[in-house]
Amino acid sequence: MRSTIRVPIAILIAAVVAIVAPVAASMIQKGGDPAQAHDVARHGLVTIYGSLADSILANKRCEEDVVRAILEMERGLALGALDRAATNPAALAEAAEHIASFSTEGGATVEPIRNRLLAGGHHHNADDTGPDAMYDSGYVVVDRKTKRMALDLSKECAQLAQAGAASADEIAKIRRELASLAPAPKGK
């Protein structure tokens, strides 16, 4: 898995160069050893780059946690709606919407954020491309198979909503299938 976050890297490295390079140049101008000045500059840049990498990876883990939290929220809301559906069939439509949002890692409100990250060069599964890719571009933990299953489940739920009623068995089946939808394990 590879991540590319170009904007912060470009800005921070420029800042580091702006600090470290003049120090190294100053050492040379003052009669210092050029090789030593180079070592100072390189050491400074590498140290900061290492810290930056920690920060990037921490942010990426944090992003994954946020997406997982969104999924569990949508799943929980869908399950809650299914609980109400036995006495209030209209809740089936609500459940269908939450399952749809689960399938797309947050629905229409998250889509622009994902597009913005993609446009900015941030890909969560950048090495997973082409027609056989497991993930859609920008998706973090819901792979295509799980997405497809969730979409089918959402449609099934919406069809029951339109029918105006669902049996206890039908609701239980949707609950089971929703509970079994599994995002990728942590550290995939």
């Binding site: 889509e111 913005r116 979409l151 449609k155």
Partner: protein
């Protein structure tokens, strides 16, 4: 002609020209009046005056389109709009699509920030020339996507207008009309938002048709190059599934970059076919081997049983002409009932393709009796002919940046006769006609 006051032609000349034109028409057989009477003198031309009524009418939402610097093509294409009677009260409401508002790229910055996400605007006509912005109340804010094309029609045949929006690189929206001017976006759970494998596609143009003659409307959406156009087959009740692969649509539409789309029964076999406008957005693509061409040929998909075949090679020389095509609209050049095609193309004249060679007796055109009112938009027409069912809906919008003439054209097959024609108007009113001969225009009185 300019207004009377500004015209350089004296009135007598105007009369003479009108009389001459009328006489020529009569001599050529175009006019079948029993007696030859001098034509009535033309009315003095009125002076057209348009005034900016935007603010007074209450249209206040800004249509954003990307960043001020317009670094990408998409930021300069704008968004569509439609007059349509969404609340079924007999007057025209307004729907305006919208895109994102972005900041300009700061020096040294890789990306641009989103200042506001795309919002549609729905203005309900109060009936007095002013509009109420009821976007939020109606549930039509758009959810933040980049809307390209919208088609409005009664897709679920419940007597009111539904909306289908093709979004670029985002899930498409399907707004179910729930009555009283309220809509619910059900795209994802309807099956019409994403491709069959769950991917968001670059939605460009829309056609609404009854592909398989089951009287349930289907949706067709065109997409970018190296991604197939999608045929969403209706299951009833606003549920759909992607039938692109099983029908052969996916394979035949994968390579070109597609825009406008219209459903026409081009081979008159009582099964609708599809015409698609193609053309790439980057001229530079010609320099990349195997990456396609900037100027592409348009495509005809003929229905053959449950699948489609490429009918372009047999559709005449008009379909051999390459271009960077965009819009596509259907009309009738000569009043011969044939579906003629008008394509727009980048940096060239439009391409007008006249339909030749069909049998007039097989066409049936259903048209409004007079200037159509708001309730003609969304009217659904079902035709039973030769044991087959065909359905069409009068759309506002559809295709890509184009509007076809507001008629429904059916091919009746060998029989050349429709056993039954049923017209359902928004609001629920129904008119039925029986034993209609082909080669004619059925004029329908719109409530």
């Amino acid at each position: 002609m300019r207004s009377e006051r500004g015209s350089r032609l004296p009135r007598v000349s105007t009369r003479a020209i009108a009389f001459l034109a009328g006489s020529l028409a009569a001599l050529s057989g175009c006019e079948r009046s029993e007696s030859v009477a001098p034509p009535a003198p033309p009315l003095p031309p009125a002076r057209p005056i348009y005034v900016d009524a935007t603010a007074a009418a209450g249209l206040g939402t800004v249509t954003w389109c990307g960043s001020p610097a317009k670094e990408h093509l998409l930021e300069s294409t704008g968004s569509g709009a439609a007059f349509l009677d969404l609340d079924a009260d007999g007057d025209d409401d307004i729907l305006v699509l919208g895109a994102w508002r972005l900041s300009d790229r700061a020096p040294g910055e890789g990306g641009r920030s989103i200042l506001s996400r795309g919002s549609f605007a729905y203005y309900r006509n109060r009936g007095d020339g002013t509009f109420a912005d009821e976007t939020e109340r109606a549930g039509l804010a758009g959810g933040g996507s980049w809307g390209n094309a919208v088609a409005a029609g009664d897709v679920d045949s419940d007597g009111d207008l539904d909306l289908y929006v093709a979004n670029d690189s985002n899930p498409n929206y399907l707004y179910r009309n729930e009555g009283e001017g309220r809509f619910r976006e059900i795209g994802l759970s309807s099956g019409a938002a994403l491709s069959g494998d769950g991917a968001a596609q670059a939605g460009m143009g829309i056609a609404v048709l009854d592909f398989d003659g089951d009287r349930i409307l289907d949706l067709f959406v065109t997409h970018f190059a190296e991604d197939h156009s999608t045929l969403y087959r209706g299951e009833g009740g606003l549920f759909f599934h992607d039938a692109s692969a099983v029908t052969g649509v996916a394979k035949l539409t994968y390579a070109p970059l597609s825009w406008g789309a219209e459903s026409i029964d081009i081979d008159q076999d009582a099964a609708p076919d599809l015409v698609i406008a193609n053309g790439h957005i980057y001229p530079q693509i010609d320099e990349s081997a195997g990456a396609g061409k900037y100027r592409q040929r348009n495509l005809v998909l003929l229905q053959r049983g449950p699948r489609v075949v490429d009918g372009s090679p047999d559709a005449g020389p008009g379909f051999e002409i390459p271009g960077s095509f965009r819009g596509l609209a259907v009309g009738d050049l000569e009043g011969d009932l044939d579906p003629d095609l008008l394509f727009t193309r980048i940096d060239e004249t439009p391409l007008l393709l006249r339909f030749d060679g069909a049998e007039r007796r097989r066409w049936l055109v259903v048209a409004p009796e007079s200037v159509p009112g708001a309730r003609w938009i969304g009217a659904r027409i079902d035709v039973q002919a030769g044991g087959r069912s065909q359905s069409r809906v009068i759309l506002s919008g559809g295709s890509y940046a184009s509007q076809s003439s507001l008629v429904a054209r059916f091919a009746l097959g060998e029989s050349g006769r429709a056993e039954r024609v049923t017209v359902r108007f928004p609001g629920g009113e129904i008119r039925e006609y029986t034993e209609i001969e082909g080669g004619s225009v059925l004029r329908v009185r719109v409530p």
